[in-house]
Symmetry: C2
Subunit: 427 residues, 2 copies
């Protein structure tokens, strides 16, 4: 009965008396009758409700005092159902599916009530059998982490794996990835694998694969269609374009941002249309230039994490910049206000950072639009302090690019030039 | 000739020979003929062009090597033209116009080429004479600063000024304000002046008042119409709704963000429609509840700036949190990923911050949507560490609110309760 974590006092006693455990199917008679799976509570939950997961996939809290009857109608569900093997069609184009974890590769775990990254790449492939009709997929697990736990070391590992298959017969790659930091990973791969010979898609989902409203299947199927049909190279984030189930956007991996916490169409290309849209069996193209500025494959799989992202705001304490100097940071990307400004209270600490050889880049917390630092006095003051305006680069992308550049160069001039060169459609 | 700042070598010699100075009207014959005002160059500019400001308000660079002839056609323009006095109609409703600086209260300074906050509130009023037909305006200058230089002390000063006129016969207030940090100021006023008895509008412009494409006039006129006609209390940011010149949005001061660096419609209400739209002479209302949750005026004009805004990203160094502890910070607002997550590499430093009595609040860097920390393991871990999920509060607003709350309370429980109470439509 240790699974009844979180249920306390008389509710816990009531559940024990009724011999039900978290994960069991139960029927509760209250003002209405509810059937579902008994979910666990958390320390932080209130103490007067029992929570069921209904068939629809949604959770409901039922007030304990109003419960008339509770019946157990089935044992705890197992997550390990037998997986069927999908027959491969050797004549179809070959695709590599790498799984890193995330909601797309997850199931609701009825023991903990949480969604956990439990599906292997092969299971994921099996969960969406439609893919097998479009491509011949090899599946491999790299790691099983939600993307908030992915770190730059993971980016390096993904990049090295991709580098190892650059000359293989795969027509393209799907990376199943958590959505939280998918755009950071896509930016790193765009820089580190500049000129990569095949299209790379990062595919996530906002609802886990075993939920009725999951976007996993359509996103995976659309990515597969895109890889099999496109002639474009590049790194793309492939996610629902809107709340309907008919259009999936392929966003440039260096121009995309997660702009909503929960919508299926959370990802948006900043300031423009998505590069491609997979609409039923058609692939619509909005992209004018090639993704990589150079055609040649030039992998540089290095980085230095000593870069900070600093959002300026009224009352920002310049001592934070001093702390970064003490921590031996090598780069600071500012999210300035408006066209790329910070208050003059920051000037002394910025000069000191510059004297310590720290690369200083300016982006805007407005996110959309471009910095323009010659219009106002503040901007010109900052230019005089040798802060580099990074045009319309998204702050998060500028951060990842600075990590990459500083991992590949120690020369101030080269660092500046690399930051301003357009490698992978980041400008 | 010291005004020829930035022009070097033979270009400088050429300008001196031709006896022209920055600010003079000149006519340049090159491949085409250009007439305009000679603009200064900046250290960071290239050294092969002369820059003119054309009548249209836009600058053009003319390649020096291609110039055939330069003629001076007029002396440097003065910014101090005689201002006409507008006759007041005492029968119209009274409005107070406070100027704090910013582009709306600026002119292009032809000596430095920069836009500077040079217009007084009275001049601003005179620059938009249409206002005098709608309201009887008293104008006052509080300061003349671009808003990137406004600090929390300025917020306090604005709030105290407003508090002093709460019982006056003004029907409402216009605060002319730079756009860079207008949404931070509007948030502070919303909290500090909870229940304020009159509507307050913050009005900015993205192009200075003396430019042909300026949005200053329409924004000011629309704010005046709104103040004279509305029955709503509250703090609103009043700016162009789109790129056309017929609709101006009144955004809730706690739900608005500058989402574009340069567009006239840069400001957007996050996740919703603007509260009001001034369309020609009509005022369309989208607002359902009153702006303030309590009807009574309850000024609390205090703050504590020891609050940091921390955007989590892969590779974020937890030592930065340790630095904040050393700097005796009292609050940290996280911009987590997705539904409100940070990587588990942060846990030790977060626990330490909590042990040091620091208030920890969670928002999302997605900006739109709401945090939901019970769905995934990471969120639940953070809840166990007593990070407070701040629903759909915008990160910048959460920062300002935390500064305000910490300036008004020292009790952990009260701080938490105040952060979660909806004072001014921030949720």
């Amino acid at each position: 009965m240790s699974e009844l974590k979180g249920y306390k006092g008389k509710i816990r006693d009531f559940l024990i008396t009724n011999k039900v455990d978290v994960g069991d199917l139960v029927k509760i008679t209250s003002e209405l009758t509810y059937s579902g799976i008994l979910m666990p509570r958390y320390e932080s939950g209130d103490e007067s409700h029992i929570v069921l997961k209904l068939k629809s996939g949604y959770n409901i809290g039922i007030e304990f005092e109003k419960i008339e009857k509770l019946e157990k109608t089935g044992e705890r569900q197992s997550n390990n159902e037998n997986s069927q093997t999908i027959e491969k069609n050797e004549e179809l184009p070959k695709i590599l599916l790498l799984s890193t974890g995330g909601t797309i590769a997850s199931k609701v775990d009825y023991r903990t009530g949480a969604v956990t990254p439990a599906l292997s790449a092969a299971e994921l492939y099996e969960a969406v059998p439609e893919i097998a009709k479009i491509a011949n997929v090899d599946a491999e697990v790299l790691f099983s982490e939600y993307s908030e736990n992915l770190q730059p070391e993971h980016w390096l590992e993904i990049a090295k794996k991709l580098d190892s298959i650059v000359d293989s017969d795969y027509v393209g790659v799907i990376i199943a990835h958590g959505t939280d930091t998918m755009h950071y990973s896509s930016a790193f791969l765009s820089f580190a694998l500049s000129g990569f010979k095949k299209p790379i898609t990062l595919v996530g989902s906002q609802r886990s694969s075993d939920r009725p409203s999951s976007d996993a299947a359509l996103n995976l199927i659309s990515a597969t269609k895109f890889l099999v049909n496109t002639k474009s190279k590049g790194v793309f984030v492939v996610m629902h374009q809107n709340e309907s189930d008919d259009a999936v956007a392929c966003h440039l991996g260096t121009r995309v941002r997660k702009n909503h916490t929960s919508k299926r169409s959370a990802f948006q290309t900043v300031g423009s249309e998505p590069a491609f849209v997979v609409y039923e069996d058609k692939i619509l193209e909005n992209m004018k230039n090639s993704f990589f500025s150079e055609n040649e494959y030039n992998p540089r799989i290095n980085l230095d994490t000593k870069v900070a992202l600093i959002k300026y705001h009224p009352g920002f304490n310049p001592e934070i910049i001093e702390s970064l100097i003490k921590l031996e940071y090598r780069g600071i990307i500012f999210e300035g206000t408006g066209l790329g400004h910070v208050g003059r209270t920051m000037y002394a600490s910025i000069k000191k950072a510059k004297e310590n050889g720290i690369f200083l880049g300016m982006t805007s917390q407005c996110i959309d639009g471009r910095v323009s630092m010659t219009v106002y006095e503040s901007g010109r003051d900052l230019l005089d302090m040798e802060i580099i305006p990074l045009e319309n680069m998204i702050p998060e992308v500028a951060l990842v690019k600075a990590m990459w550049v500083l991992g590949n160069s120690n020369s101030d001039d080269e660092i500046k030039n690399m930051m301003l060169e357009n490698y992978s459609s980041e400008f």
